[in-house]
Symmetry: C2
Subunit: 223 residues, 2 copies
């Protein structure tokens, strides 16, 4: 297996969404976990449904819509200031503790590194800057350029086209099992970061490897 590029999902893979939960908890004590769970589930659901319907909206719009739904479902009064504050939290996530060192090691390996995310540029670009990773990646690729979302194949194809590397020579890393399996079905070599000890999704594929965190990837590639 010759890997010329490593491509990473963003939210939950490189960047810890826990600070969103903490921000929810500040606004509505005791409801942070339930809110963030419903918010995330609806965010994904709307991204898939909009792609299936052919009614694209940027991930920032989908994310704000999902927040409004989740608050209404949980009986939480959401005003514009809270909505703005919670959306801002998405632009100021921290990387997981083992991510910066792992990325530095992987970068030293001479491979191209890229992000491939559903996040629209208005969300992902400020986040990469916030984390001081402006120089870390050869490309930050957003599905927004195609106005469609994962796990539609054109999103994965974008990494092939923009990096100039064949799918068989790309390693893809995601903490979202469905994303990992979409990438595997597409033809990438895939590691699933399974921090929650969740089952593998039943979607016609298995990841090539399962990691507990990104820190496990450099030694695996060196082995």
């Amino acid at each position: 297996m010759k890997l010329d590029a490593l491509v990473f999902d963003a939210y939950g893979t490189l960047f810890d969404v826990h600070s969103v939960i903490a921000r929810c908890e500040q606004v509505w004590p005791g409801r942070g976990a339930a809110l963030s769970q419903t918010w995330r589930a609806k965010q994904l659901e709307y991204s898939w449904l909009r792609t299936l319907m052919g009614r694209y909206q940027p991930f920032s719009v989908v994310t704000r819509d999902a927040l409004a739904y989740a608050c209404e479902a949980l009986g939480l009064a959401l005003d514009a200031a809270h909505s703005d504050a919670l959306m801002q939290a998405y632009c100021r996530l921290d990387p997981y503790p083992d991510v910066p060192a792992a990325l530095a090691q992987l970068r030293a390996g001479g491979r191209k590194l890229a992000i491939l995310t559903n996040g629209s540029p208005d969300m992902i670009d400020p986040l990469v800057r916030h984390c001081g990773m402006d120089e870390t990646f050869d490309a930050v690729l957003s599905a927004d350029a195609l106005r469609t979302y994962k796990i539609a194949a054109p999103v994965y194809q974008m990494a092939v086209d923009r990096l100039g590397v064949a799918a068989a020579n790309i390693g893809f890393v995601s903490s979202n099992c469905w994303d990992a399996l979409g990438a595997k079905n597409f033809g990438f070599n895939v590691w699933w970061i399974n921090r929650q000890d969740a089952p593998v999704d039943r979607l016609d594929a298995r990841p090539d490897g399962i990691l507990k965190g990104l820190g496990e990837l450099p030694p695996r590639l060196a082995a």
Copy 2:
């Protein structure tokens, strides 16, 4: 508004999925609600993801896969006999109490009646027979004929084509808000049955009407 046909979603709209929960509860006491919730969520997720990936499998396969995932996630040991028994429960649901009388009234109105469902024929046909509704509908249309799932537009188009009625003259009824809004975006007149008092999904449309149950539809159409 001139409606020449009324088209109904099946699961949760006409047919009460509660008996599946009850069957889960028999097998794993105290876990029925959690299992059925995860099962249903994964069933929908896999239907959307498979459509986006272009890797169709019939709804019976998707449903069985979702059951396997849900049991593993909840730490419940699922053997083949339990899997078969729970899948069988989907073929023996009861209609909601107000459904038979409402369908009889709607049928007396002279409009065509049809089911439009994700359910594959191996699931929906036995269920319609079980409920004694063989003669109730002019057509039982399954997305399986197209090897794609709601809320892709071709599924709604199938009702137009097979019933020979323009979208603007079709009334569509679903208890799944995303399905109702997909149908609304497609061009149907739409009633959402909101039995759980849930928020309206944020998907660029509003249902034309919101009902607490199908029994409310005949008087609304007569008004």
